[in-house]
Symmetry: C2
């Protein structure tokens, strides 16, 4: 039986992943003479650049996520399936789904694999439970829970007349995510919570940002790294560069022989590609990203595209295409265009990344940005960051609500999404009490 | 060491639970010459009357919940502690907290126990994992996940050319919660989702409301029960009264010898009091509620109040005070007033419940209500319900946001909080596929 949405003789396109790359590929194929099936493990697209706002209780999950079905509901040629890919058969052109539901093999004529990236713990998978990273809504609510629990624990201990554990928040890695997290913890601890606790003073919390390399935001120009570090220090954050983390255990981060006690440890140090890259059975780089041809396909399979953070692509100058949202969006649209060209009998093009600049936010009213040759810092950079992120947020409703929430939080310092919800299976690894080093 | 907020020689009041009763007691004590400590297992107050809106993906958790700390932050004499009560010593006047954090004994001069109620499964605790009830935010997101997963599963099965499980949603119990849930499932299935699925037709889902007694909303007058049943049937819901559930297993609800296949089973059939009632070591009724004196205290302990759903109190006409939010609010305020009177050397009063009426919502634009001798039904009752629930929602911000969300959902049929998030530890009990009977 042919499913309702599938047409005889129309090429079938399967898109794996509904992140920036996959979703933009699917949108670009909405009116093409093909049948599209989008598969994702989650039922929602997550706007990752704002995840840290959920982790820090400014925004709610529903404000930065939209059901994939909802985003694509006007695309009549598109079916959305919830499912986890467990393998590929590139010869038979099949994608295997084998997860909680009954197994299903999806045939394709064109395949776009856009499964993204996950946290990399440099050979220490045991650190993950202690120092969560920030990739999914579940990560964000778990980080929110840990940060809020640290304050609650300290309050109860001090109320009981006991010595509370030090309120140390250690962020490992000073890339954009680490810098965002450190800045946002400083905002929440320094301003809002002070009115609500009776025993502790949240302003006495220490926020320690550890970077293995010589400067924060290593992918940015040096002057912006210096500006970011200055802005972080103005917020009272302890920035330590050349500080390579050698061990992480519950409540303690080790930097060489030094042991830093920590109530909460967050990971912003590295990402590796989704394991689906290796499942394709084609050459990958050491981070597990698939080394793609100039048209973003894999060798010998011009019908198989790899896009977004899972792709290792080169720019014309030989530099790698960075693992950022704009690159993923461009790759997704490019792959869709190549499929439409192939269906129309036209030759392939070469992918070229158009760098429109980049912005990293640091905290309330602070950011740095590189827009071509223009470098900006501080409040103006933050306004630019705000504007661009609102513009690209999926869905009018989300944009409206996020704008209202931000305005509210900005004017009142009220972090209204400050809920500790059930940790579920992760509870056993929690240790809200820091051990002294 | 005396914690900062505690004053020598001022009576200490400990309030257990930050539901309607506990929170209103604490608020009423904000300016009294006492030191107040509020203890709750959660860091947030949940506005339970709107929980079903979270379960049905209209509202987000943060819109119907507020951090207890935030609600009480202006009460300078009040400390909020996150903690789980594990016992009482009424002789030594101590509350034991012994949970994930270090144990703590809280001394009190006055105690208000307002720990509320939980689901009752009539001697079948094994049904709980299969048929969740609706008391907490975690319950609501779990129910949301199950309902959305049922549609996703059916879509994938039909797409695969297989016969999907029947999209049956069985709600056990036709009290206010059961009626709300059934009506809201009908709303979400009948209107919005139809645009987004390609293979299934969500309108073909069956919603079956099972009630053991002879009529729906048994606590309401007969004419309103009849009206509610008529409104439910107009929405396409199968209402079955005198249908006593005899067994529940994954995917099947048994009513006598009949086996009803079910994708999702929800429980709205009964509540029992929190186990803290029995821990007090004083007489309780068969639902575990503490039988209180006319001043809501327990026998021989005029310093120990029990309020809200945990209290078994009588009205002057001998009827029980119902387990509804207005009664809990009134009891909380009453207990606070008695403590203030005792501190001022005044005698106790007797509690009298003031019944302002009750409203039960059925679905978009439908409700029934009893306001004194006036019985209302349909759209007007629904407007009254809407107005009153917005009015009592905690916090201006929440009210504003809920109003916007509702207006949005009402005008666009867009259920924007439709996220399936990680089930955590509950995953193993899930069975999205119904078994045929």
């Amino acid at each position: 039986m042919l499913p309702m949405t599938q047409h005889v003789n129309r090429p079938r396109v399967v898109v794996i992943g509904a992140g920036f790359a996959g979703l933009n590929a699917a949108k670009a194929l909405a009116n093409a003479p093909v049948d599209v099936t989008v598969v994702d493990r989650k039922n929602h697209h997550t706007f990752q650049p704002l995840l840290y706002q959920v982790a820090l209780a400014v925004l709610s999950p529903a404000e930065i996520a939209s059901p994939v079905r909802s985003v694509l509901h006007r695309a009549a040629n598109t079916e959305v399936l919830l499912g986890e890919v467990t393998g590929f058969d590139l010869q038979k052109r099949l994608v295997h789904l084998d997860d909680r539901l009954d197994p299903l093999d999806l045939p394709y004529d064109y395949l776009i694999v856009a499964a993204g990236a996950t946290h990399a713990y440099f050979g220490h998978p045991e650190w993950e439970a202690i120092a969560p990273g920030l990739k999914t809504l579940e990560d964000a609510t778990e980080i929110r829970r840990r940060i809020l629990m640290a304050f609650e624990t300290a309050e109860r201990e001090l109320f009981a007349g006991r010595t509370p554990p030090p309120l140390n928040f250690v962020v490992v890695g000073a890339g954009p995510t680490g810098v965002e997290l450190a800045g946002a913890i400083s905002d929440i601890a320094g301003r809002h919570l002070t009115k609500e606790f009776r025993s502790i003073d949240p302003r006495q919390s220490r926020i320690i940002l550890l970077e293995g390399g010589p400067r924060v935001l290593p992918a940015y120009p040096e002057d912006l790294s210096a500006s970011a570090e200055r802005q972080l220090k103005e917020m009272g954050i302890e920035v330590r560069t050349n500080a390579m983390v050698t061990n992480i255990e519950a409540g303690v981060v080790s930097v060489g022989k030094e042991k830093i006690p920590a109530s909460v440890i967050l990971w912003g140090a590295g990402v590796s590609a989704s394991s689906l890259g290796r499942m394709l059975g084609v050459p990958t780089d050491k981070a597990g990203r698939v080394i793609v041809q100039p048209d973003l396909t894999v060798p010998e399979h011009p019908e198989v595209f790899v896009t977004g953070d899972l792709a290792s692509a080169k720019r014309h100058n030989g530099q790698p295409v960075p693992g950022v949202a704009p690159a993923a969006i461009q790759m997704g649209k490019f792959a869709a265009r190549q499929i439409k060209r192939s269906v129309a009998g036209k030759p392939r093009e070469k992918f070229e990344y158009l760098d429109k600049g980049s912005l990293a936010t640091i905290g309330r009213s602070r950011a740095v940005g590189e827009l071509g040759k223009i470098h900006i810092s501080g409040f103006f950079a933050w306004l630019a960051w705000l504007f661009i992120h609102l513009l690209f947020l999926i869905g009018f409703r989300n944009r409206l609500f996020v704008m209202i929430e931000w305005a509210w939080a900005y004017l009142t310092y009220n972090h209204s999404a400050r809920l500790i919800t059930d940790p579920g299976e992760k509870e056993q690894v929690e240790n809200p009490k820091a051990k002294a080093g």
